[in-house]
């Protein structure tokens, strides 16, 4: 077996934001390789630039320095689809129209659009709600729409920005498992963001730890648990408790460090 090629190669990416006379170094020297089919999580305190990095990968923001490459396997497929933190389900489209959004924009044959939309509506348990508008859905249901929309678009890679951060515990566990179940069918490359250590351990093949001010990669952890995984199984695994504490300590040090070092840079 040869070493798997990198699906995403991120080289020395930095991002500076300018606010009035201040400049904020949101990301510094981010270098990262992600294998094809790998589920990688960026884990770090809020404000450490996770969203910024994901938005750069999503083409919504330009890096101030550095670059990234995504190796395409199929010219027909879109490069990436993002699941936004605020879910971004479009209120003037029905659930079904939202899920079909990317497919329709690509002008795929109606039959294919319908098939794939229905498939993912079914997978996310949204079929009974297909004709409803998002205002009639709960937060968890809306996030399902957002997930179904991204998967239905069938991109080369999936970007997920804290998709479950706004949900209550119960819904969060349910959706985490649903997400893993859907993902395991095709094992697309995923860059996932969270600030929850538990969530990172549950979903990831690899966790990339980040620190804030400036946002940097400080460590990596491989999670070699067999899949499919469940919330229950992870919770009862003593090795995982150990891992949790390790990551916790690491982040703790980073947060403490950042607090004593942090001075806004004048530009």
């Amino acid at each position: 077996m040869h070493a798997p090629e990198a699906k995403i190669a991120i080289e020395g990416i930095a991002k500076v934001f300018y606010k009035k006379k201040q400049s904020i170094l949101a990301l510094q020297d981010i270098t990262l390789r992600i294998r094809d089919g790998e589920f990688v999580t960026l884990l770090g305190p809020s404000g450490c630039g996770k969203t910024t990095l994901l938005r750069i990968l999503a083409g919504l923001e330009k890096p101030s320095a550095g670059h990234f490459d995504v190796r395409r396997t199929d010219e027909q497929k879109p490069l990436q689809s993002m699941i936004f933190q605020e879910n971004g389900v479009i209120p003037w489209m029905t659930v079904e129209q939202n899920v079909a959004f990317g497919l329709n924009l690509r002008k795929l044959p109606a039959k294919l659009v319908k098939e794939r939309t229905h498939y993912y509506l079914e997978k996310t348990g949204l079929t009974p709600f297909a004709k409803l508008y998002p205002k009639e859905l709960s937060g968890g249901m809306k996030q399902r729409v957002s997930i179904a929309r991204a998967f239905a678009n069938d991109p080369e890679l999936l970007l997920m920005d804290e998709p479950f951060a706004a949900l209550d515990e119960q819904n969060k566990f349910i959706l985490q498992e649903e997400l893993l179940r859907i993902w395991e069918e095709h094992r697309k490359t995923v860059v996932f963001i969270t600030h929850s250590i538990d969530e990172a351990i549950l979903v990831s093949d690899r966790i990339v730890l980040m620190s804030a001010h400036p946002g940097r990669i400080v460590a990596e952890k491989r999670i070699d648990l067999p899949r499919p995984r469940s919330v229950e199984q992870i919770r009862s695994d003593p090795g995982m408790a150990q891992l949790f504490v390790e990551i916790w300590n690491h982040l703790q040090r980073e947060v403490q460090g950042a607090r004593s070092e942090f001075k806004p840079c004048k530009g």
């Binding site: 999503a58 083409g59 919504l60 879109p78 990436q80 689809s81 993002m82 936004f84 605020e86 971004g88 479009i90 209120p91 003037w92 489209m93 959004f101 990317g102 924009l105 690509r106 508008y133 998002p134 205002k135 929309r149 678009n153």
Partner: protein, 271 residues
């Protein structure tokens, strides 16, 4: 056994509460229905007994009589139809370009930068004050009346449409970009539907202004129409037909707002 006691008691008090709420609602509905009837009855009485001058305040029954006479003679139809035609034409002539310009201004900053000062300078001028110029440009015929209405409808619609686009949440713009929307798709799937609720508010405002404008415009230079009916009757001291004109305005104002509300519910089912 506390439960056994509590339940019938609760049901009883719930029933009592429901009854008293229903009573309050019936009283309110009666009051709402009674107020115009009461006003008309007092008016009728005062007018009949000449406690108020019946030349200026003719009895409601005699106004209603004139109303039906005018329907029978066909006079009503000619006034109403010409006014409605002017409103419809002026409304369309004002709304369509306003929506287009508003969407452009909302979507493209340079458009907004260029047109905003012009709009801000022109908006405070009542279109009626421009009527002499409009008449010079468009003649004293139908053209000038339609343009006057169009002009007064234009401003609230263009401003609300631009604001409607500008207020679309950034997240939907990011979603559209992320999913590869072309400029055309962005326009039809995000900008237009996203702006629609605020735009409809502008159109509702425009409708109210159109009605004000038509009456005034027809008072100034017209031979037919509801505004002309009001003004010419007044000048001839014929107060019954003048009140008929006022009733027509009130009626159509109400109908238009119902129509637009219905349209809004059709166009914005997602709110």
């Amino acid at each position: 056994m506390k439960d056994g006691f509590a339940r019938p008691h609760d049901e009883e008090s719930a029933l009592r509460e429901w009854k008293s709420k229903r009573r309050a609602r019936i009283v309110q509905q009666t009051l709402t229905g009674a107020s115009p009837v009461f006003l008309l009855a007092v008016w009728e009485l005062l007018s009949r007994t000449e406690l108020i001058d019946s030349r200026f305040f003719p009895a409601p029954t005699s106004i209603v009589g004139t109303f039906f006479d005018m329907i029978a003679s066909g006079e009503m139809l000619s006034h109403v139809s010409i006014s409605l035609l002017r409103i419809a034409a002026g409304f369309l002539l004002g709304t369509v370009p306003a929506v287009m310009l508003g969407l452009m201004m909302g979507m493209y900053r340079p458009m907004k930068a260029f047109f905003s000062p012009l709009l801000m300078a022109l908006m405070p001028i009542p279109t009626l004050a421009l009527m002499p110029i409009i008449v010079i440009l468009f003649g004293i015929g139908e053209g000038s009346k339609i343009v006057t209405i169009a002009g007064s409808v234009f401003f609230p619609v263009v401003i609300n449409t631009a604001a409607g686009v500008a207020n679309i949440d950034r997240i939907y713009i990011d979603v559209a970009k992320n999913y590869g929307a072309s400029p055309k798709a962005f326009f039809f799937k995000i900008a237009l539907p996203g702006a629609l609720p605020v735009m409809m508010e502008g159109i509702q405002m425009g409708q109210a202004i159109a009605l004000l404008t038509i009456v005034a415009a027809e008072m100034i230079g017209a031979r037919e129409g509801i505004g002309y009916l009001i003004w010419s009757s007044y000048k001839l001291f014929l107060f019954e037909p003048m009140y008929v004109g006022l009733i027509l305005i009130s009626f159509f104002g109400y109908m238009f707002s119902l129509l637009l509300r219905w349209l809004k519910n059709r166009l914005v089912p997602w709110q």
